[in-house]
């Protein structure tokens, strides 16, 4: 029961994780079927999946990766970040800046040197922080570094000063709000209110073409699986158990000699980078990034996804993100004004009756079913105290 060694890395990660195995299998199947049905079957065919649907699903997967990032710090280390939308948005902006550079002279003003919004603002030259975004590799590095460095600096200060609990939540919320205000300003050089949009190409491939969309969808699936496995690797290691110790008994972890602040910082930075990757994949699929992504409400919604799906399982976060966002798509279409009430109600219901979310509900149902099957057999599993 205690031997975790001498097995392949994947076996170790997924050995006792049937939820994760199913999730990855499902994702791989989707990665094949959805682009296939989109590209091979003609419109009007029964098997055709529209580009709209594929892109929508891709968007959900980006949210799911974001939810995994939040579950990693909240579910396993007890860090309730109400500002994770900021890391998602920063990753998105890094990708958006690359996509803006890809437009070249095809903008409204036909200026090859400057993006349209800068021409509009009468700027003469590209600000220094836009340098390098012509390169895809550099932009991808920034997708990781921009959120990572912010998380590092923020986390270093907060965790070293031992800011925990609700105070930490409040300052993360303040962080994303401050960024929202900053990115709204035109003179920040990120497109102000309108953000970055009108993208044309990615790596030279048109963003409007179905095949590019299909590749982005597949990339989202792979990023989700990758993010899941990285998170799983962390939580199944001894480091993961230290995180749980910090969550459950922080001072015990300290008196055992663990530098709680470093552990928190590590997982916070990893999580912010996962969020950044999610944001970077989100932007080319939805076609825009604007300061609205920094809105505090967005970060709170992520928490609801994770809570509804069931925290502390990783795959629960994926389930929650997809279900809540699907509901959002349906309800904001049908009765938009009710959506926020529904979302709030969902959170209250989950908190009151389903502390373990959908995953917990499923376990409960299965338990009941199993219990009914062997009602005759006595309950002697040996785990009652």
């Amino acid at each position: 029961m205690t031997i975790q060694d001498n097995r392949g890395p994947l076996t170790r990660l997924l050995m006792s994780d049937s939820g994760g195995r199913k999730l990855i299998l499902l994702m791989l199947v989707l990665a094949v079927i959805i682009p296939f049905c989109n590209l091979v079957f003609a419109e009007g065919s029964f098997f055709h999946i529209s580009t709209y649907t594929m892109t929508l699903l891709g968007k959900y997967l980006c949210y799911a990766l974001l939810a995994i990032a939040v579950d990693l710090i909240w579910g396993y280390c007890g860090i309730l970040s109400l500002g994770h939308g900021a890391f998602f948005a920063l990753g998105g902006y890094a990708m958006g800046m690359y996509l803006m550079r890809q437009i070249g002279d095809r903008g409204v003003y036909g200026n090859a040197e400057l993006p349209d919004f800068m021409v509009f603002l009468n700027w003469q030259e590209l600000p220094w922080y836009w340098y390098g975004f012509d390169s895809f590799a550099f932009a991808m590095l920034m997708v990781l570094l921009a959120p990572g460095i912010l998380a590092f600096v923020f986390g270093f200060l907060a965790f070293r000063s031992r800011v925990t609990g609700v105070y930490l939540s409040i300052i993360t919320q303040a962080m994303t709000y401050a960024l929202l205000l900053a990115f709204f300003r035109n003179d920040m050089g990120f497109g102000g209110n309108n953000g970055l949009t009108d993208f044309k190409d990615i790596l030279g491939f048109s963003l409007q073409s179905d095949s590019t969309r299909a590749v982005l969808f597949i990339a989202s699936v792979l990023a989700l699986i990758g993010g899941y496995l990285i998170s799983r690797f962390i939580v199944t290691s001894k480091l993961g158990r230290v995180l749980v110790a910090i969550r459950d008994a922080e001072s015990r972890a300290r008196f055992l000699g663990y530098r709680v602040e470093y552990y928190k910082l590590f997982v916070f930075v990893v999580s912010s980078m996962l969020a950044g990757v999610a944001g970077a994949l989100y932007v080319p699929q939805v076609g825009i990034i604007n300061p609205g992504e920094f809105a505090p409400i967005n970060s709170i919604e992520i928490i609801i996804w994770v809570a509804v799906g069931g925290r502390n399982t990783l795959y629960g976060a994926v389930i929650g993100a997809v279900l809540v966002n699907y509901a959002k798509t349906v309800f904001t279409g049908a009765f938009a004004e009710l959506w926020l009430f529904l979302l709030g109600g969902l959170f209250v219901l989950t908190t009151l009756w389903l502390p373990k979310g959908m995953v917990g509900l499923w376990d409960l149902i299965r338990e009941k079913y199993r219990h009914r099957q062997n009602t005759a057999a006595p309950l002697a599993q040996g785990d009652q105290t």
Binding site: M1, T2, S237, L239, S251, R252, R254, F255, R259
Partner: protein, 258 residues
């Protein structure tokens, strides 16, 4: 009355001199001085508010004293001024602490709790790639049998009884292999039988480690059969064998008599 021989050239494992701490004008520790010898077991008693927990806080780096020295000597005879270190650093120097309220990680198994306590490998990267060695594995088995939880190694720590949690936490201290163990009310919530077993365990430990035990239970202290220090209003009121301390009129006045 300690059974451990004193060597002149053996520096004290813990040397506290004139340690004072005040919180908003209230002197929690008032020029506290105390010496713990290597391999010694020491019982600390005193009424509520005498400064027992604050004393443990300053030793383990949780609270910085306003003045005074706290010198710790490790197995290799290196000396450290503990007032310069934080909790994690003090723990890694070789000072283990058990809290009054059992503090185990409830959602990990007994085995995982102990595994986490094992000496070494406190860095992030080490924790990420950690694999249990054969040595560590046998060390864990040894601790499990010492604290009598072999058959519960796979249990969630949260499902243990109160007394078992206390034992698990003591086991976690053993995993750290500290020079000095600070133990706050170990017998709280234990049955009489468990209390006596705990006293036996501590007496065995005192051969290899130095122990400082804060306790209210006089039967338990009698069973420990060691030197007793009485704290009162942040300083040492009396020190000596349990019998001599019990006979001290000042001690009777502030503590035992009431």
């Amino acid at each position: 009355m300690t059974a451990v021989p004193k060597h002149i050239d053996n520096p004290a494992v813990l040397y506290m001199n004139g340690v004072s701490v005040s919180f908003d004008g209230f002197k929690a520790l008032n020029s506290l001085s105390m010496v713990i010898e290597p391999g010694e077991m020491r019982a600390i008693i005193g009424p509520n508010g005498a400064g027992k927990t604050t004393m443990m806080d300053v030793i383990t780096g949780k609270t910085r004293p306003d003045s005074g020295d706290i010198i710790f000597t490790d197995a290799a005879k290196n000396t450290f001024d503990l007032t310069k270190f934080d909790e994690a650093a003090v723990a890694n120097l070789g000072v283990g602490r058990k809290f009054q309220k059992p503090s185990v990680i409830e959602s990990l198994t007994v085995f995982e709790n102990l595994e986490m306590s094992l000496q070494g490998g406190r860095g992030i990267w080490q924790a990420l790639i950690h694999k249990l060695s054969a040595d560590q594995s046998s060390k864990l088995d040894e601790i499990l049998s010492m604290i009598d939880l072999q058959d519960k190694r796979g249990w969630m720590a949260g499902s243990l009884s109160h007394g078992q949690k206390q034992w698990l936490e003591i086991g976690m201290l053993l995993g750290q292999e500290p020079e000095l163990l600070l133990i706050d009310e170990p017998a709280a919530g234990m049955t009489d039988e468990e209390t006596m077993k705990t006293a036996e365990l501590f007496k065995r430990l005192a051969k290899k480690h130095s122990l400082m035990v804060v306790e209210h239970d006089m039967d338990f202290i009698a069973a420990l059969d060691c030197k007793v220090t009485v704290l009162h209003e942040g300083h040492v009121l009396a020190e000596g064998s349990l019998d001599s301390v019990k006979a001290n009129p000042q001690v009777i006045e502030v503590y035992l008599g009431r």
